[in-house]
């Protein structure tokens, strides 16, 4: 009885394992050990990256029914933020006070009780919004145009002397003007979005208090960030490079999560009643983010260097020796493979384990699993599902951003770097079943291996490399024919 259930419940997983095992044996015998191991490791690396993007995507779709087309952009943002933090955080620390100043008044509903004369109510939001955008522009570029100040924009990277990167910035007195300008712009935008005159909107006193506290905290952060905008990057650049790399992973993931949270609260949340608009908003957001990145960093491709931990010259004979030598390549079963890519595989596995622990052993995970099936009932139990949505969106964005930084040392950092991953991640989600992170892991593994072995076959038989790309779609088609809800999807 129990055994029957075991096979029935895990049919999809067992099926995949059997198919992979058969293909593995066929591949191993026909390709030979070296080619087989190398291709498998490449596939695992790709699969790990696919998983980092797809995990958030599948949770967000499963729980919130939001098809997030900006997820690839989060991957890209993560790569930029992590790369900048690792190589030259000056720019990030210069940007931070401006962003914080803009957010401080926007936080919460400070102007929810604003009184605006009846005659102006129709046009006020758009006028205020426009004014806000103009002030942002003035604060960022106006001072430069008037030739009052020069912003320290991105410096080119040289590995030799990290401190040379920390270019001297404009005087603090000038910089305060920018911060103040951003604060005013934020206030204008907050007024514009406060829906003046909307009588149907009730604001509770404790909400206003919480908003005030939040805005106050952000204001303090703004001041601190302004004062330390030159000292902080210098300090970071003096850290050990390995420490800086792991800090970059953390910073990028946290910033990605923060940006994700801001996106959910401001753009996604008002549109749960109009799901099709959400799709369009995320699609538009992907383009906007890409343009903003191009504006800030120019449409160039950057290369992030690997941390010293993975870049000492030479080859380690095995993984254990690598711990001592930190060499750039490691010998795995007779194949010379970049040690950094093994780290990516490890990162993907760690992420899967962490996610499994979160989903199975915490209350948040329980609520997410329940919410994927029946949101309304979760809410009827007295649980604020809206807040869980925000957390899941942050989690998903953070994971994608982490994936982006992880990928930055071996794929070019450029504005469209996330697009291909997003497309593959959508296929992974469909294969694995919406809302199942385990399904996403299996799907990512399948696609990663398919891409790697497809590339190998294409090269060997001089076929078009399009074969490898098409293989993922073919897998999706086969899975959907056999199980229309995906491997781990629930048939409702």
């Amino acid at each position: 009885m129990m055994r029957n259930n075991f096979f029935r419940d895990n049919a999809a997983l067992l099926g995949v394992v059997v198919i992979l095992a058969v293909l593995g044996v066929v591949g191993y015998t026909s390709m030979g050990q070296t080619a087989f191991v190398r291709t498998t490791l490449s596939g695992l690396t790709l699969g790990a990256l696919f998983f980092m993007v797809a995990a958030g995507l599948t949770l967000i779709f499963g729980l919130m029914d939001v098809l997030n087309f900006a997820h690839g952009a989060m991957f890209m943002l993560g790569a930029y933020l992590g790369w900048q933090f690792f190589t030259n955080p000056t720019f990030l620390f210069g940007l931070a006070p401006l962003i914080l100043a803009l957010l401080a008044p926007l936080f919460g509903w400070l102007f929810a009780r604003l009184e605006i004369p009846e005659a102006l109510q129709k046009s006020a939001p758009s006028l205020l919004g426009l004014a806000g955008v103009v002030v942002v522009f003035l604060a960022v570029r106006g001072l430069d145009i008037l030739d009052l100040a020069k912003t320290a924009m991105v410096a080119t990277m040289t590995a030799a002397d990290p401190l040379a990167e920390a270019t001297p910035q404009e005087a603090l007195s000038i910089f305060w003007l920018r911060t103040a300008g951003m604060f005013i712009a934020g206030a204008l935008l907050a007024m514009a979005t406060s829906r003046p005159g909307d009588k149907t909107r009730t604001v509770h006193t404790d909400q206003v208090r919480r908003a005030l506290i939040g805005a106050g905290v952000l204001l303090v952060f703004t001041i601190v960030a302004t004062l330390f905008r030159e000292a902080a990057p210098r300090a970071v650049l003096l850290w050990d490079a390995n420490l800086r790399f792991f800090a970059a992973l953390l910073v990028g993931a946290l910033l990605g999560a923060g940006i994700g949270g801001a996106i959910e609260v401001t753009l996604i949340r008002p549109l749960y009643v109009r799901p099709i608009y959400q799709v369009i908003v995320t699609l538009g957001l992907a383009y906007v983010l890409r343009e903003v990145i191009q504006l800030l960093w120019q449409p160039l491709a950057y290369q992030m260097s690997r941390p010293p931990l993975f870049s000492q010259p030479g080859k380690a004979e095995n993984i254990f020796e690598w711990f001592r030598t930190n060499s750039v390549t490691v010998d795995v079963l007779g194949v010379t493979f970049p040690s950094y890519r093994l780290f990516i595989i490890l990162l993907g596995v760690l992420m899967l384990v962490a996610l499994a622990l979160l989903m199975n052993y915490t209350r948040l995970g329980m609520i997410i699993r329940a919410g994927v099936q029946d949101r309304q009932m979760v809410e009827a139990l007295g649980i604020n599902v809206q807040r869980v949505f925000t957390l899941v969106f942050m989690l998903g964005a953070g994971l994608a951003a982490l994936g982006g930084i992880g990928a930055a040392p071996f794929i070019p950092v450029q504005p469209n770097m996330g697009d291909a991953f997003q497309l593959q991640a959508f296929i992974v989600v469909v294969i694995g079943g919406m809302g199942s992170y385990g399904g996403a892991a299996i799907g990512a593994l399948l696609l990663g291996l398919a891409r790697a072995f497809g590339d190998y076959l294409a090269l060997k038989y001089s076929l078009s490399p399009a074969i490898a790309e098409a293989s993922t779609v073919i897998i999706m088609a086969i899975v959907l024919l056999v199980r229309p809800a995906g491997l781990f999807g629930r048939k409702e």
């Binding site: 209350r363 699993r369 994927v372 099936q373 029946d374 009827a380 139990l381 809206q386």
Partner: protein
């Protein structure tokens, strides 16, 4: 000030999409009693429960719980004030274990530990099934789990939607017994198509028709009025099995 009523609903109007589902429903639910909502399919019984809870918020009208106006609040706040909900179709979380289905209903840490004995005394089966995933439970067991889930937190009012639906006769008897026991400590607002079950459980009744409350009173009076029963609930009585 009507403090004998734990719940008061004053002519609520609820829209789902563009459809005007409730066109003025009014109810008064006295404390520590069982009140039943009767009516044909599509009369608006389920929507009434969902409107009270804020899952389909009413556009007009007043809902008062324990003397406080609650209409327009988010559903999670309303539920957290002490309202338990047992939805129709045994809507348990099938991908969660029995234990998790109960655990997720905790509003304070330790709710489940305090209530576990009480819940297992009502539904001894659940103890045996505690570690199983919800989708391994039979229909009757799922229904019991759905009721048990509403008992984990300290709820003053239970909204129970068609507990007898799809249950075998012997399980219906058990369910009735359980609900009768519950009404000793809490108030129950019940939606029930099975008139036999409803008439044996409830003290007060409301009949909905086309989204309006059309009749109300004591159940003891209704069972005498065969003509009204037949006119308002004709199909429901027949499907109830007796005559």
């Amino acid at each position: 000030m009507g403090n004998d009523n734990i719940l008061e609903v004053e002519s609520i109007h609820t829209f789902i999409g563009q459809f005007h589902i409730l066109e003025g429903v009014s109810l008064q639910v006295p404390r520590s009693s069982i009140t039943v909502l009767l009516g044909r399919n599509g009369a608006g019984k389920t929507t009434t429960l969902k409107s009270i809870l804020g899952l389909t918020p009413p556009r007009h009208g007043v809902v008062r719980f324990d003397g406080q106006e609650i209409q327009g609040k988010p559903a999670y706040e309303i539920a957290a004030m002490g309202i338990g909900y047992v939805p129709e179709h045994r809507a348990i979380f099938r991908n969660l274990s029995v234990a998790e289905n109960l655990k997720i209903a905790e509003r304070k840490k330790g709710d489940l530990d305090r209530k576990a004995d009480f819940i297992f005394s009502l539904f001894p089966d659940l103890k045996r099934l505690y570690r199983l995933p919800g989708n391994h439970l039979s229909g009757g067991q799922q229904q019991m789990l759905a009721v048990a889930r509403a008992l984990v937190a300290d709820n003053q009012l239970l909204l129970i939607d068609e507990p007898s639906e799809g249950l075998a006769p012997i399980l219906i008897e058990q369910m009735m017994e359980t609900i009768r026991n519950l009404s000793a400590t809490t108030t129950v607002l019940l939606v029930e198509q099975n008139f036999i079950m409803a008439s044996q459980l409830a003290e007060n009744y409301y009949i909905l028709d086309d989204g309006k409350t059309v009749h109300q009173g004591k159940m003891a009076d209704l069972v005498q009025d065969k003509e009204l029963i037949h006119r308002m609930l004709g199909t429901a009585v027949r499907s109830g099995g007796a005559g």
